[in-house]
């Protein structure tokens, strides 16, 4: 594992922020290309850990990976610096774009282009939905949770989205507790009658 200077950390993540589009999973392959193969700052296994952490903690995946790599290389200062570096290009570019857009307001051609873009955005969001839906485990639990969340958010728009997410976490926790208990009971039963170890801790949802 190489020693990395703070400047190198900053410059690498600045470039990643400036030259990647879209974010999310598209960014992961780019990150591993840059950090594992070219720079050899981290190993493939580190990268996988990083993605697992990035997925299961709040935040944007590309940013979380920057924070994580920065931390691993140079501690808290490193993580602050890499996070700042990866966000900085967005800040600069969007600020410029924003003022260009403001200047274009009311321009017929630009308004026409925007109408086209707006129809396209719907396509992008639909595709993001399909991509994320594909990664869910295929079981009744996921399907029911998905539909309930959809229904609440669509037909009761005043309900806070964060509450709906917390509700999902609570249900998931209860199911985990329940499974844990039945697994323990099964283990106790198995210890009592010896043979039936394999059959008992069956999952209810899957």
């Amino acid at each position: 594992m190489k020693k990395v200077s703070l400047w190198q950390l900053f410059w690498t993540f600045f470039k990643i922020g400036a030259f990647t589009f879209g974010g999310g999973y598209a960014m992961i392959s780019l990150l591993s290309e840059e950090l594992v193969r070219k720079k050899q700052w981290i190993t493939d296994a580190d990268m996988l850990d990083m993605v697992v952490i990035a997925e299961s903690t709040p935040g944007v995946i590309a940013i979380n990976t920057a924070t994580g790599v920065g931390f691993r290389k140079r501690g808290v200062i490193g993580s602050l610096l890499s996070t700042f570096a990866v966000v900085l290009p967005s800040y600069i570019i969007i600020s410029v774009v924003y003022f260009v857009l403001t200047a274009l307001e009311g321009n017929l051609w630009w308004e026409s282009a925007l109408k086209g873009i707006n129809a396209c955005v719907t396509v992008l969001v639909v595709n993001a939905f399909f991509k994320m839906a594909k990664q869910l485990p295929r079981n009744w639990f996921s399907a029911v949770m998905l539909l309930i969340a959809f229904a609440i958010s669509t037909f009761l728009p005043s309900v806070n989205v964060i509450l709906i997410i917390l509700g999902g976490a609570a249900v998931g926790l209860i199911v985990a507790l329940f499974k844990n208990n039945s697994a323990k009971k099964a283990a106790v039963n198995a210890a009592d009658d010896g043979s039936e170890v394999e059959d008992k801790p069956s999952d209810k949802e899957e």
């Binding site: 903690t57 944007v60 707006n118 396509v123 939905f129 989205v161 999902g168 199911v175």
Partner: protein
Amino acid sequence: MPFLLLFWEYFKIGLFTIGGGYAMLPMVKQVVLQHGWLDENQLISFIGISESTPGPFAINLATFVGMEVGRSQAEGAMGILLGFVGAAISTFAVVLPSLIIIIIVMRLFDKFNNNCYVQGALVGIRPVVVGLILSAVFTIGLAVFLPNLKFDNLSEESFSNFNWVSLLMFVGMFVLSRIKIEGKKMHPILLIVLSAVAGIIIFGVCGVTEGTV
């Protein structure tokens, strides 16, 4: 205290975005509409532009919203300055929760990753987030096609002014986005550029006005 509110709302959004950038969308949508920071159409345009400029989509969108909130606080040069301040606040706020959490988690990675309650909560959160995105898709899409529709206030009025040109464009773009050429799907940026050109031709050159049915 609009900046304090901006910080607090984006801090919460950062804290509850689980599963990457698009998971942020339902929360952003609710917050900006609730506080009147953007209207639905501005939000949709900002999404399109955030997707087609460099940088993570969610950060771009946060910068945009902060810029708009800041600039609306004052006129002229002061507004521009406040725009930069607003953008810095929303971007910082959205990153802060994950920055803190990642630093903690990196120290206790194995404990965190193998904890059955953390994993249990995530099993519950993931389908909910996808359901929320579906809802955002649904309402954003319908806002493009049916500008007068409000789900909490359905009436005959809701279905007036049906925008069939946009619906046709949506179907066309959707088909294009699913086509694979040599195993590769079209890049989203190309798709956005194409739809902008289509928009200019249909609405600008041909002068199609949004159809009422």
